[in-house]
């Protein structure tokens, strides 16, 4: 579904991603872990089409097409969804209206008739019940005055309604207490399916107690320095990141020597 090859990305003149290789197939859940400042959020936002980042070199294909040719809205309409780390508030814009506009934009692209208010409300209320969200959210402005946990739940609600092919979750666990974390994780798990892929970006292992990944990658200094199965996450929890970084330093020294 998604293939990233030797991707280098900069912001202004500062390189952030320094050669990422990653392949994600339908049905897989990939966790991307790493210390602060390693480029995890850059990768997430870049894939979603944020324009502040520029490609230096590399390729990204999504569903066989060059992803880099697509604008942010076209990526969204092609089924890429980013659950934001810090969902922004849009005061005065009704949450229901926003959700409906997003869903109908997608349906229009797919050549489906737009949903009217009644059918949409039916759909949204059903999805909200799963996430144990109060219906009062529908009447409020988009994320306006929401608590951290409410914002994250709202992201998962949008994801459930838009039914994307590729879900990218950027630090969805940050700022959540254990109950909220469980509800959000259940919402995410309900969306796991053989034709949907997920990239879960997280700093801590605890989210992975609830969302079990198929693969774990460690991102450090703009590169994936280690990949493995879910047991890698546990190892990280136990030993921290430093041992990998140490190991990586040696390997890059060795790699450098071979040139």
């Amino acid at each position: 579904m998604l293939e990233i090859k030797k991707l280098h990305v900069k912001i202004d003149e500062t390189p952030i991603l320094k050669g990422i290789d990653l392949k994600v197939n339908a049905g897989e859940v990939h966790a991307i872990m790493g210390p602060n400042g390693s480029g995890k959020s850059t990768l997430a936002q870049f894939l979603a089409g944020r324009e502040i980042y520029n490609v230096i070199s590399g390729e990204v294909t999504y569903q066989g097409k060059n992803l880099l040719d697509l604008s942010a809205e076209d990526r969204a309409l092609a089924g890429i969804f980013l659950a934001f780390q810090y969902p922004v508030e849009i005061p005065g814009v009704n949450n229901t209206y926003f959700l409906k506009a997003a869903l109908n934009a997608k349906r229009k692209r797919q050549g489906l008739p737009e949903l009217d208010a009644v059918d949409f409300l039916k759909l949204v209320k059903a999805k909200m019940a799963h996430l144990k969200m109060d219906e009062k959210f529908l009447q409020r402005g988009v994320n306006e005055g929401f608590s951290g946990g409410e914002k994250k739940r709202n992201e998962i609600l949008q994801m459930a309604i838009l039914e994307p092919h590729l879900c990218i979750l950027d630090e969805t666990d940050s700022g959540l207490d254990i109950d909220a974390l469980r509800i959000v994780a259940e919402g995410v798990n309900a969306l796991r399916s053989p034709d949907r892929a997920m990239i879960v970006v997280t700093h801590y292992q605890r989210l992975l107690d609830y969302i079990t990944p198929d693969f774990v990658h460690v991102l450090a200094g703009g590169r994936i320095v280690k990949s493995g199965g879910k047991e890698l996450a546990l190892l990280l929890e136990e030993k921290g990141y430093s041992w990998i970084l140490e190991q990586d330093k040696h390997s890059s020294f060795v790699a450098g020597a071979s040139l």
């Binding site: 502040i52 809205e73 506009a101 997003a102 934009a105």
Partner: protein, 485 residues
């Protein structure tokens, strides 16, 4: 996207669409201003002596103000000095005789209003909205007069009111905005040509929206209309004005005066959708909109509410105000002002609390795009005798890009220590984060912009009558065309 957003997009791709000129013969006064011109206008309108005297007095006051260079200079707007002798002060479509019915209105003028979306013909009238259509200096038609007359509501052109209800006009004219109130009010008092008059009798709830539709057509003319609205005890009226003008390279002056009077328990809701020609994207042409609007809550528990959506005009200088004289009276001001390209707006309100337990609310939303300069200027004054007065003000600014400006000038004067005055202000840029968030959900940039802007203005749009709220949203789309590159 939904239908309404599609139409916004359609509109954003157009520029000012009311910029056409209607070819009709008109009856003009010679260019320039003198006592003779004032007499000419009064004569043309067959006015009683007292009104001519009133005009002449205003004219002399204006001459003094001009001599002493009392043109208001404090507003944060810039324009070359206006040459008041390069303006035509009276222009009327030529008509052969007195009109007996709407069918005799020049078909060209009827067609103009059709084109503007304001049908005047009986069969096509707007549902439940009575319209007074003012074309250049005169009122050309008023709809639904008979139906309104049945409940005792008088709604007619100002000139007709002078002829038919002189006692009401004489009693209230200038009682809220005196002739010499300010430079432009004095000018208007001397040369005003027409406008709307409205009287709601005691206990009557006006059965429909009343509206005046102003159209400037002729070149080099100024438009100086006068609106007088009186709501007797326990009456209610909702009134709306709209305005458009042709696209011209020269600036044209519009200096109107609006006076509202609300007696005991009366309520007046006055809404404006101002869409005068704003000039082109380089700041050439456009209307100078220098207007004095003021309402007096004379009676106890009376209420006056101003709602304005200001999108047009090269320069807007306008402060719809309320004098809260009656005990327990209420004043409200809800405003959205948009400046794009090189437009300038200095607008706000004055709330003067005199009576006890009076309260006022001010919600101002300023939007600046391009090189637009947008200022909120407001005064809240609590007089000595105004026990327990309350005011809440909220002024928010939204900026697109980095070349425009947003400014807030709140003045607060409190002379009674039981007063409670609250002021909140915010300035924000339409953020990349908000746009990206919308786009990441598949919403196209232009739809996202209109969504964010409409959200920002929501608390004001809510106050507009339904059909005009839709109109206002569309207008906003047009005005902000190209604001995001």
């Amino acid at each position: 996207m939904t239908g309404s957003n599609a139409s916004i997009r359609e509109l954003t791709e157009k520029s000012y669409q009311y910029g056409f000129v209607t070819a009709i013969e008109s009856d003009n006064a010679p260019m320039g201003l003198s006592e003779e011109i004032v007499r000419f206008i009064s004569f043309k309108k067959n006015e009683p002596q007292w009104l001519l005297d009133w005009r002449l007095k205003a004219y002399r006051q204006w001459c003094q103000l001009l001599e002493n260079e009392k043109e208001p200079m404090w507003a944060k707007v810039h324009h070359p000095k206006i040459d008041f002798n390069q303006i035509i002060y009276y222009s009327a479509p030529k008509q052969k005789k007195q009109l007996a019915s709407l069918d005799e209105v020049d078909p060209e003028i009827l067609a103009t209003y059709e084109k503007l979306g304001i049908p005047l013909r009986e069969q096509a009238k707007l549902a439940n909205v009575a319209v007074d259509a003012v074309f250049d200096s005169v009122s050309v038609a008023t709809t639904f007069k008979d139906r309104l007359a049945k409940v005792g509501v008088i709604f007619c052109s100002f000139s007709e009111a002078v002829q038919k209800h002189p006692e009401l006009v004489q009693k209230y004219l200038g009682s809220v905005v005196p002739a010499g109130d300010n430079f432009y009010a004095a000018l208007n008092s001397a040369v005003f040509s027409d406008g709307s008059f409205c009287y709601i009798p005691k206990g009557v709830r006006c059965p429909m929206e009343l509206s005046t539709y102003f159209r400037i057509n002729s070149a080099n003319t100024g438009q100086f209309e006068r609106t007088l609205l009186i709501a007797e005890e326990s009456s209610y009226v909702s009134y709306l004005e709209g305005c458009t003008a042709p696209m011209r390279d020269e600036n044209q002056l519009h200096a109107a005066v609006v006076e509202l009077i609300a007696l005991d328990h009366a309520e007046i809701k006055y809404s404006t959708v101002q869409n005068w020609y704003p000039g082109d994207e380089n700041g050439k042409g456009g209307i100078y909109n220098f207007v004095t609007k003021r309402g007096a809550c004379r009676g106890k528990k009376s209420k006056i509410s101003w709602t304005q959506v200001e999108t047009g005009s090269a320069i807007t200088w306008k402060y719809p105000s309320v004098i809260l004289q009656g005990d327990d009276s209420v004043g409200e001001f809800y405003s959205v002002a948009v400046t794009n390209h090189y437009q300038q707006a200095d607008t706000g309100t004055k709330m003067i609390h005199i009576g006890k337990n009076t309260s006022s609310t001010i919600i101002s939303k300023g939007i600046s795009a391009g090189h637009g300069q947008n200022s909120y200027r407001g005064l809240v004054r609590i007089q000595k005798g105004a026990e327990n007065a309350r005011n809440y003000s909220q002024c928010d600014s939204l900026i697109f890009g980095n070349q425009g400006g947003a400014h807030t000038f709140p003045y607060i004067e409190v002379k009674n220590n039981s007063a409670q005055v609250e002021h909140e202000a915010s300035t924000s840029k339409i953020s990349e984060d908000q746009l990206f968030y919308c786009r990441q959900r598949g919403i196209a940039t232009e739809d996202a912009v209109s969504m964010i802007v409409n959200g920002f203005c929501k608390s004001v749009f809510r106050k507009l009558p339904m059909e005009f709220a839709v109109e206002a949203q569309k207008l906003l789309g047009v005005s902000l065309e190209g604001a995001i590159g």
